[in-house]
């Protein structure tokens, strides 16, 4: 008689939403999602115990400006990324012009430059004392030029930094749509331009909308760029409330308003994603591009080249020149300490993100169902929550826990004021929440490729649990796990507000150094740490571009 197990343990959970005892996998998934839920709840609960004078001060002097600044920023960046992203995607996906194949991947490169780096380079170049205006003055005498440090300037920089989100997803949409629908429209007597406006654009709308929503989430989350431009938004206000007014409750209240904006965007994004499935009309076998006339072709080349130069080439060259100049004095032991801290934190953060992503994905595989999908969705919503919000939302409960522990330990003769507060815990938790979606996306895609019959085949041949994991799943997931770790590594390296607000004493990173130098207007000295960040950021972009080519 072979070994037997009791059947009771094997029966799958009955109803999906039944109030049965959760399985251990569900418990793990719920714990991971609590990492997101707790900070959000903590932030909203701050309304209960407000400090009246700060609140009324804020309502009178701060909030109106923050709201109008945020509104104009979202509107401007929304229009900017839509125009740049859609036009470039259409040209590189559907038209043939000189340099198309180069630009189709090169236009992704700006993803490697964080918006805050582009911001100080652009200011350094275009400010009153910058090389451009100085040169113009020498030729034409005193001039009255528009100020770069303005609302328009922030919008321009953010649009240039964030358009790749729309470009990438819209290009994908245009290419997978194929030309079938477009050719059908042309056979019905519609010309090329009308075909774009009446067929291709409406079909790609859900994709474009999702890309724009992502770009707007990044806009809301941005701290570095608006700080450099002195353009107050909620993220900078949260920072000031915490570190200048020392009011965590004011910071939380500001954060809670920001979260409301974010949630609206999240809902809009998920809505447009759910519309994507209606958007595909049969793939045409060959993807033939529209051949532009000579004149139009060169116009297209010129336009893409201008965007590429402003968003990537010129800033990169300027950055390298500055870095080279500053390198003589700044390439010292302190610099290498920043690099070391950045690598160490990014590595540790990437490891945690990948591990949590694997657990969450595995939980979904072991316990599939609607409730698990919901839990996974909540757990990965952190990508939309600005780092400044997470910093506050995680610091408060950890500090509370710290105080409880100290109170509990004091009678036992323990002396000290902080157990967890001075550690990396807050920062790593915030990284994990913010970047879990990045890791999960890749790990989950890898898990989906392992079909159920692969598991079953291994099981009938005697492989179970650990042996299944080590002999089948880990080898098959190796590439996905590596991608998850690499992507989150780079994202953490670029991250500014979480690091700035929650780093323990002495843990200055490259991004923190950039913030310190830019807040003193030392563009040259900010360039050196920026170069390291951009170089790291190039890796995933090259990966993304090469994958796009294969498609």
């Amino acid at each position: 008689m072979p070994e037997t197990t009791l059947l009771a343990a094997k029966t799958p959970a009955s109803g999906v939403f039944a109030f049965s005892r959760p399985t251990s996998w569900q418990v793990i998934a719920i714990m991971i999602s609590l990492l997101v839920v707790i900070p959000v709840v903590v932030i909203f609960s701050a309304w209960g115990k407000s400090e009246a004078d700060i609140l009324s001060h804020m309502a009178e002097f701060v909030l109106p400006e923050l709201l109008s600044n945020t509104f104009w920023l979202l509107l401007g960046v929304g229009l900017g990324v839509t125009f740049l992203g859609v036009s470039l995607a259409w040209l590189t996906a559907m038209c043939d012009f000189p340099g198309r194949s180069f630009f189709s991947w090169a236009l992704l490169l700006p993803l490697a430059i964080p918006a805050y780096v582009l911001a100080f380079v652009v200011i350094g170049l275009l400010d009153f004392t910058g090389p451009l205006q100085t040169a113009l003055r020498e030729v034409f005498g005193p001039l009255k030029l528009p100020q770069i440090r303005s609302r328009g300037g922030v919008i321009l920089v953010m649009s240039l930094a964030l358009y790749p989100y729309v470009y990438l997803i819209a290009r994908n949409a245009f290419m997978t749509q194929g030309r079938a629908a477009l050719e059908a429209a042309q056979s019905l007597g519609v010309n090329r331009w009308q075909g774009f406006v009446r067929v291709a654009l409406p079909m790609a709308r859900p994709w474009i909308a999702a890309g724009v929503m992502l770009a707007l989430m990044e806009t809301l989350a941005d701290f570095g760029t608006v700080a450099i431009f002195n353009y107050d938004t909620f993220t900078t206000a949260i920072y000031k409330a915490w570190f200048s007014l020392f009011s965590l409750s004011a910071a939380s209240q500001l954060a809670s308003i920001l979260i409301v904006f974010v949630l609206v965007l999240v809902l809009a994004e998920q809505h447009s994603r759910s519309n994507m499935k209606y958007g595909t009309v049969g793939r045409s076998a060959s993807h033939r591009r529209i051949v532009l006339s000579r004149k139009h072709g060169w116009l297209a080349s010129f336009y893409t080249a201008v965007v590429f130069s402003i968003a990537f080439l010129i800033p990169m060259v300027q950055l390298l020149i500055w870095a080279f100049n500053a390198g003589a004095t700044d390439l010292d032991a302190r610099y290498w300490a920043f690099v070391r801290h950045s690598l160490w934190l990014s590595g540790l953060g990437a490891f945690i993100v990948t591990l949590l992503a694997l657990l969450l994905g595995y939980a979904g595989r072991q316990q599939p169902g609607h409730s698990m999908l919901l839990i996974q969705r909540i757990a990965t919503i952190g990508y939309a929550i600005p780092g400044a919000v997470l910093a506050v939302g995680i610091f408060i409960p950890v500090a509370w826990l710290d105080n409880q522990l100290i109170d509990w330990l004091k009678p036992h003769g323990w002396q000290g004021t902080a157990l967890l507060k001075g550690t990396l815990l807050v920062m790593l938790l915030a990284y994990a929440v913010r970047f879990l979606a990045v890791g999960f996306g890749s790990v989950d895609a890898g898990l989906q490729r392992i079909t159920r019959s692969i598991d079953e085949a291994a099981r009938v041949m005697g492989s179970h649990t650990w042996s299944l994991l080590s002999r089948i799943h880990l080898p098959m997931l190796r590439a996905s796990l590596f991608t998850a770790a690499a992507l989150s590594f780079v994202d953490i390296m670029k991250e500014m507000p979480i690091t700035l607000m929650t780093r323990p004493f002495g843990w200055d990173t490259l991004a923190v150094r950039v913030f310190e130098m830019t807040s003193e207007g030392e563009w040259e000295r900010a360039a050196l740490p920026s170069v390291a960040i951009v170089l790291a950021g190039l890796l995933p972009v090259i990966f993304l571009a090469s994958r796009g080519d294969k498609q």
Partner: protein, 356 residues
């Protein structure tokens, strides 16, 4: 090798009964097949035998050991069953030899290599030992899946729609090849398919399934010529039902004449003297039951024809207006609308009580 016994097993998913009181016995070394339309529960039976699904009544025995019952369930990895999956489920990160060796467990390396070698030659894959699954054709992948399942010398082999991902020509060739391999290994095997040609070419014994129950567990020959009920008669092969009237327990009259033979009908034929006048039946007439005969006085009109190479399948309109099928050697090429002579050549009378 072991035999397989399913005794009155049932399985339900919520209120839905998937398997309903199902029993069959597969002898040691026999190749059995569960045949049925999609959704009849045949794959679920296979998964119950493998141990992926629990059962709610009855029990399953492999080689005399009870492996499944409502109270106890031996996990799949303890059953020593080989399984070939519909999508083959080859491990993409292992090469052919690695896939075959996967289930060989803790044997020493030389023993493993020897067994892998054996299977590579058995399945004709010696040249592909170092290739990876994505470098193989569909037929080769199928053979790797079979070799991998046979390698650990399982008690028996289960195959879930093993040929459905292959094109028709390859399907026929491979099913003969696979039967050969299984017989050489003396393997007890159970195959699930919806394709009767496949079932007939590979299996010794076939169970026709419908609505979670086995309608008939029999040889392919008997399924075709002596279907146990109307569903089996309909599902297996081609044919039409012609109205007939029972005369006595060895004679039934239809439009085309009187048929002699045992009348295996659910009409109470034993005392059929009483029912002679009201026992109307439907008689199954296969295309090979009607033969073309130019001499015959019995004429039918050709209504449609399909060229099959060696023969034509004619759809005939009988004098009464009912239709029948007839297989005719292909040198008898008649035009549509032509009237041709036919005669009956029925060996086995299959009749069911008329549905009123």
């Amino acid at each position: 090798m072991s035999d397989l016994k399913l005794v009155r097993i049932s399985q339900s998913y919520g209120p839905r009964q998937i398997i309903d009181d199902l029993t069959f016995h597969l002898q040691e070394g026999q190749i059995g097949c569960l045949l049925g339309p999609s959704g009849c529960g045949k794959t679920t039976v296979l998964r119950c035998i493998a141990g992926f699904e629990p059962i709610t009544a009855g029990h399953i025995e492999i080689g005399g050991d009870v492996v499944s019952s409502p109270a106890r369930l031996t996990p799949p990895e303890k059953r020593q069953i080989g399984m070939v999956f519909q999508d083959y489920a080859l491990f993409p990160h292992l090469n052919v030899a690695g896939n075959i060796a996967f289930g060989l467990g803790k044997h020493d390396a030389s023993h493993k290599n020897q067994r892998v070698e054996e299977l590579l030659s058995l399945t004709g894959l010696l040249d592909s030992a170092n290739k990876f699954p994505h470098q193989l054709s569909g037929g080769q992948q199928q053979r790797v899946a079979l070799a991998r399942a046979l390698a650990p010398k399982p008690h028996m082999l289960l195959m879930d729609e093993p040929f459905s991902n292959l094109d028709v020509e390859l399907r026929e060739r491979l099913s003969v090849e696979v039967r050969d391999i299984l017989k050489r290994e003396g393997m007890t095997a159970l195959i699930v398919t919806h394709d009767q040609n496949e079932a007939f070419s590979i299996a010794d014994i076939v169970g026709v399934m419908h609505q979670g129950a086995i309608q008939q567990w029999d040889t392919p020959y008997n399924l075709y010529h002596q279907p146990a009920n109307r569903f089996v008669a309909d599902f297996i092969g081609q044919g039409v039902f012609l109205p007939g009237m029972v005369m006595n327990n060895s004679m039934v009259e239809i439009e085309l004449g009187v048929l002699h033979g045992m009348i295996p009908t659910d009409c109470d034929a034993t005392g059929c003297d009483q029912c002679a006048h009201d026992c109307y039946v439907d008689v199954l007439i296969r295309p090979d039951d009607i033969v073309h005969d130019d001499e015959s006085l019995l004429m039918a009109e050709v209504e449609n024809k399909a060229f099959r190479g060696a023969e034509f399948l004619y759809t005939l309109k009988l004098p009464s207006g009912t239709r029948a099928l007839s297989l005719v050697p292909s040198h008898h090429d008649h035009a549509i609308g032509e009237r041709i002579g036919i005669k009956l050549a029925v060996d086995h009378v299959v009749a069911y009580r008329r549905l009123s």
